[in-house]
């Protein structure tokens, strides 16, 4: 009976789609010869296609609703198997070693173009992890993250233009500038949360871009700043190919550094305060957490990474202009965080590879790649709203030692 109802609904959907697409896909008016071409076969395709898709869609949606098939006893849930394996230190070490080998060998095995894309993907890993501090851990919806990225990029560009300052000096300065901007933005938003916060950060992102676009004396406006040098390698001149590979390895280093730092932050007093803030702001304050300080540190630290990546971005493209820092960029980084699973490092790494590499490798589908990309995102959010990898809370082992004496043994 249920199947029959499903069939009927799919049929209705197919008819609806046939009706909707009728004017565009069936009627073709030739204005020169003043004739109308009726392409009825298109209607048939649309009908069949939407019927099949809707049916498959319903099937999977039903599966999500009932929590998948029932497992017979003794059978291991694939999820728990994955968790058990990823918790096993041997498997973990093996996986990390394999990842390091692939990462090191990658530039030797592929073209400069591929290395370039990979560098971009790694930059988004760092940006994602940075934004994750603000959005995933502290739970502050931040839609203007790209502003800090721009601050970093322009810090390097302007410092080079006016004072000839190099990459390695600009890197900490860019990070510092972004941190300062983070604190600056932090002040007005401390009292806001949820939707209001999102709107203010969105506004801040747009203000930054518009200032860069219109204040020509300061930032040379939409024409941007060009001729920014790539990172130097102990004074050695590198050709484009070498410079690309060098930047790739630098990015690997930055990524590892970021993963290390953000993981440590997550498992600290500050990290717990952020999580508590995300979970319940009132209770968090009542437990003695200074809300203002916690929000400020989250904003400032999140911005630091954006600033650093801004400097790398300027060095990578050797050119900055405001067009690189649109809202779409913020949305992209936010998607990485949400898609990866809020708060999960591994999830964010996977998501940024997926979101950055997918559009590149979908180029084969040329016109349809963004459509496919959008579809994948929608499907992901319906079937795995918690993200690719759900953040697993750290566990502690607890031994009873006689009566009333508890000893703690930590386990990562």
């Amino acid at each position: 009976m249920k199947r029959l109802a499903e069939l009927r609904e799919s049929l209705v959907i197919a008819l609806w789609f046939m009706f909707l697409t009728f004017p565009i896909l069936v009627i073709q008016v030739n204005t020169i010869e003043k004739t109308i071409l009726w392409r009825w076969q298109n209607m048939l395709y649309v009908g069949l296609g939407s019927f099949a898709l809707s049916f498959v869609w319903r099937y999977f949606l039903g599966k999500v609703g009932t929590g998948g098939r029932l497992r017979t006893e003794g059978e291991e849930d694939p999820k728990t198997r994955f968790l058990r394996l990823s918790g096993d230190p041997r498997v973990r070490r093996g996986a990390i070693a394999a990842a390091v080998l692939v990462a090191l060998a990658f530039p030797l095995l592929s073209s400069t173009y591929q290395v370039n894309i990979m560098t971009t993907a790694l930059m988004y890993v760092v940006l994602g992890l940075g934004l994750n501090i603000v959005v995933g851990q502290a739970g502050l919806l931040h839609l203007g993250y790209v502003a800090f990225y721009a601050v970093g990029a322009y810090t390097y560009a302007l410092l080079y233009q006016h004072f000839g300052i190099g990459f390695w000096t600009a890197l900490p300065l860019g990070a510092l500038m972004a941190t300062l901007f983070g604190i600056l933005l932090g002040f007005p938003i401390l009292r806001l949360r949820g939707d209001y916060l999102a709107i203010v950060t969105l506004g801040f992102g747009e203000i930054t871009r518009l200032v860069l676009e219109n204040w020509s004396e300061f930032s040379s406006g939409p024409s941007g700043i060009s001729g920014i040098p790539r990172p130097g390698f102990f004074g050695l001149e590198l050709n484009i190919q070498e410079a690309t590979i060098y930047l790739y390895f630098l990015m690997i280093g930055f990524t590892l550094f970021t993963v290390f730092v953000t993981n440590r932050l997550q498992d600290s007093r500050i990290g717990r305060a952020w999580l508590a803030l995300r979970e319940d702001e009132v209770a968090c304050q009542a437990m003695g957490v200074d809300k203002t300080m916690a929000k400020m540190t989250a904003f400032a630290l999140g911005s630091t990474w954006a600033g650093m990546m801004g400097v790398v971005f300027a060095a990578k493209t050797t050119f900055v202009n405001p067009a690189s820092f649109t809202f779409l960029e913020s949305a992209m980084i936010l998607s990485i965080v949400v898609l990866g699973g809020m708060g999960s490092t591994l999830g964010i790494i996977l998501a940024s590879f997926l979101l950055i590499l997918l559009p590149e490798y979908l180029r084969a589908f040329s016109d349809y790649r963004m459509l496919l990309f959008g579809t994948i995102m929608v499907v992901m959010m319906i079937f795995r709203p918690q993200g690719i990898i759900t953040n697993i809370r750290r566990t502690y082992e607890y031994h009873f030692e006689g009566k009333g004496n508890g000893a703690a043994d930590k386990q990562a």
């Binding site: 730092v261 440590r264 932050l265 498992d267 600290s268 007093r269 500050i270 990290g271 717990r272 305060a273 999580l275 508590a276 979970e279 319940d280 009132v282 209770a283 968090c284 304050q285 009542a286 437990m287 003695g288 957490v289 200074d290 809300k291 540190t297 630290l301 809370r393 750290r394 566990t395 502690y396 607890y398 009873f400 009333g404 508890g406 000893a407 703690a408 930590k410």
Partner: protein
């Protein structure tokens, strides 16, 4: 007995409504004081005023954690009030649902520890030692509360009664001298309530923490509190021992309404 919390003339206006109207009350060291009153009497507002969630419109709140040292705390932000030694639970449970039981308690240690961002990144010796102390202390609290075998469970997955206990454990982790419990027995079955009574008495006797609680369960209020304060329409209408309150006509009138007084 010495006073450890005192309010003078405490008034809270919400627009035209006086949620609290010149309330003078005190809590003494080592007692369990119950705050009762019909729904909407201003009990939770009273808690929110003394813990800094609302700044009171008028009046003062004083605390005296150690003998002789009296300090005014109204106007202080919430986290500073907690740091001064007032810890509270909430009427509708407000745990951190996606954190583990242990982590919930560890957050409570926040105001007694001080590792910063650099400490978190470099994990130097003081930070590691502090972190270890936080874990050990939190586990010890959980063991006393009776949640030691659930340390790694997510708070959202705890049974209702245990969630209430965890809220108390989390509040204890802030090292309070006065624990404010907002309807700790709400929604509990009689067995859970008995266990809770036992727990509250244990906290009072073994940890030397005084308790101020809002409660509707009269059986529990009468059996464990030393003193009862009654609020009605934001005003304090009575104060006394359970026996006195039980027989106070003003209180009976507030709870049961006019007609019972005439019918009596």
């Amino acid at each position: 007995m010495e006073t450890i919390l005192e309010t003078k003339n405490l008034t809270m206006n919400f627009g035209g409504i006086k949620a609290l109207d010149r309330v003078d009350m005190d809590v003494r060291r080592g007692e369990i004081c119950a705050l009762i009153g019909p729904n909407g009497a201003g009990k939770t507002t009273f808690f929110n005023c003394i813990t800094g969630i609302y700044p009171p419109s008028e009046g003062d709140v004083f605390i005296a954690p150690t003998e002789g040292k009296r300090r005014r705390i109204n106007g202080l932000p919430v986290h500073k009030v907690t740091a001064r030694g007032l810890a509270r639970t909430f009427q509708n449970i407000r745990l951190f649902p996606d954190m583990t039981v242990l982590e919930n308690v560890m957050v409570g240690r926040h105001c007694r520890t001080k590792a910063g961002v650099l400490g978190a990144i470099f994990r130097d010796r003081p930070t590691r030692e502090e972190e270890k102390a936080v874990v050990t202390r939190s586990l010890a609290i959980l063991e006393r509360i009776g949640l030691a075998d659930m340390v790694n469970t997510l708070a959202r997955n705890l049974p209702y009664g245990d969630q209430r206990r965890l809220e108390i454990a989390r509040a204890l982790a802030t090292d309070p001298f006065l624990l404010l419990l907002d309807e700790p027995a709400a929604g509990m079955n009689p067995r859970e309530t008995d266990a809770l009574e036992e727990l509250i008495l244990k906290i009072k006797d073994e940890e030397n923490i005084s308790i101020l609680m809002i409660e509707h369960d009269m059986r529990m209020v009468m059996s464990i509190s030393n003193r009862i304060v009654v609020l009605d329409y934001g005003k304090k209408i009575a104060e006394g021992t359970p026996a006195e309150i039980w027989e106070n006509p003003v209180v009976i009138k507030a709870y049961l309404g006019e007609e019972f007084e005439t019918g009596d």
